[in-house]
Symmetry: C2
Subunit: 338 residues, 2 copies
């Protein structure tokens, strides 16, 4: 009846041509049930200083406190939890140099599976260590000559691993949507929800949950100026590709939106707004000094949009997803000393 009933994350996800959404609030609720007691129910922080600065009530959903340091664990764990025991026994694979790598590694450990993560050989040692620390096997490749998709695909085929995509699957999207679900359960109706957009999984999941819970909520995505692929795609009415983005927001350096995520976001988003690297640095600094939280650049873009007044007029009650906090002290100091 619908195309959304794919049983394995390796299956190609498709939107339906029948108007049936690929992911629903019920799917997000199901994911929340599977994540209960495994993912952290992250705190929603308030700051009167921040409220006074921006002139609205701001609710910060702090996924930088999520396990493995970012929202990514929600989708990864949910996707793995849907695999058969046989598939979990064979193992899973992912390619990522960022938060998805650690998320899949940790989810695999939690579920007694084995993860193989394909990472560029020049990945910072701290990220290699963190991923290996969760028990994953790491396969490196030369990012200038190798093709991670081909490597991941070959590995998956040869060893019978399930390939866990970073955003392009209903199970991933439903998992990511649980952060917005928790947020709105805690705050009640919000007028707007600001969410960073990279591949679009967090946004698609958030929008699915939030628009079903709060009809009329304004869903606003935030991209770095150099990584405006979703903005351009929305303007064009179809997915477009941009050159590899040069931005400090490495978690949002997508060249084109996902097919499934874009189909959802095209339907549910009000707008995308852009922030500069300087806006992001300023938000990270404010988060540090006033909110006392550590954010990675991609994690701070939604806050940056608010502080840089990219949204006007500002509605009274605004949710903001702080999507991650994985940044080493050295890189943080480097960015702040810029």
């Amino acid at each position: 009846m619908t195309a959304r009933k794919t049983n394995s994350p390796t299956g190609r996800a498709r939107t339906t041509g029948t108007g049936v959404p690929a992911v629903t609030l019920d799917d997000v609720r199901d994911a929340a049930g599977r994540l209960a007691g495994v993912a952290h129910r992250t705190p929603v922080l308030r700051s009167r200083t921040l409220d006074a600065l921006v002139g609205a009530e701001v609710f910060l959903k702090c996924e930088n406190f999520q396990r493995a340091g970012a929202f990514k664990f929600r989708g990864a764990y949910h996707a793995l939890s849907r695999l058969s025991p046989e598939q979990l026994a064979r193992g899973v694979a992912a390619y990522s140099s960022g938060n998805h790598a650690q998320a899949v590694a940790l989810a695999a450990r939690e579920l007694g599976s084995h993860a193989v993560i394909v990472m560029p050989e020049d990945t910072p040692q701290s990220k290699l260590d963190a991923t290996a620390g969760y028990g994953a096997e790491i396969v490196t490749y030369d990012r200038y000559t190798g093709d991670r998709v081909a490597i991941g695909g070959r590995l998956a085929e040869e060893r019978g691993l399930a390939l866990i995509p970073p955003y392009e699957h209903p199970h991933i999207i439903a998992g990511q949507g649980t952060a917005a679900l928790e947020l709105i359960e805690e705050t009640g109706p919000l007028d707007a929800l600001l969410t960073p957009v990279g591949g679009g999984g967090l946004m698609a999941g958030s929008a699915t949950a939030a628009t079903a819970l709060v009809p009329g909520i304004r869903m606003i995505g935030v991209e770095p100026e150099a990584g405006d692929d979703t903005l351009r795609s929305l303007a064009a009415g179809h997915r477009v590709a941009i050159p590899v983005p040069r931005t400090i927001a490495d978690g949002q350096a997508a060249e084109t939106p996902g097919e499934l995520t874009f189909a959802i976001n095209q339907k549910l988003l009000e707008a995308i707004v852009l922030v500069s690297d300087d806006d992001i640095r300023a938000a990270m600094k404010l988060a540090f000094e006033r909110l006392k939280i550590v954010t990675e650049p991609s994690g701070a873009t939604a806050l940056a949009a608010l502080l840089a007044r990219r949204i006007a007029p500002l509605p009274p009650r605004i949710g903001v997803i702080i999507s991650g906090g994985n940044i080493g002290l050295d890189r943080f100091i480097g960015l702040m000393s810029h």
Copy 2:
């Protein structure tokens, strides 16, 4: 009947000679009632990484997320809330270059009073700005030639201000105890509670609440090595004074414990443990990179004691108070680059 019924924070607080405690759990509960909806109920953070590192279940009560950035707001607001409307109209005074200054300034603004804060003229501009930002009047003095106690006392007398002490009063102690009360309400019984000790107000309030809620809980205070006045006082059996401590933990640079706080702590503490400035730096770094929270040096000492394995054997369930997060980015970078 008892000496604890002082009606104004300007009154000299005394312990009773009759064994009646100067502060009780009921006093802490009363304070919690007055703080409800005004102070933040700060989150209790968990980290499986931290648990695995130390080999125990650790519950972090994050007062770095408290209003004005530290637990101090609890005691200050509570003390001010006990003043008469006439006294609030006349105003309050405090001397502090640290978190107590901002706490009293904010509490006064919240209660429609006026605060005069006596601060050394070489106080960092960021702290002067933060205190003035809460609407306080700032009176500076030369810390080498001036006497802040005399200046504060004269101001209070001339202008009829109520002097709000940083720790040496039952209302302050009861207010500070609300953090431990909230923590244990959320976690249930703990085996131990680790708390930074400066003047001893946070420790005395925490111990009052925790030992009444969880008989047998091990109350462990943490001081910087150079600021071991409470450790020495406990060993001596009476309050002793040490030279002005040289430590990065500026919030714990007390030369001698408070009279009232020491009387309580002497009765309720199991032990004081010491941490070095390097231990504190390491804890701040771990808090940043793994817990994604910003701590000031004094705010991280209890965590430092745990990480530096100053407590052995370690009981299974441990509460830790992260007491504050007021640190500018420049100072943080300076400390971390050491």
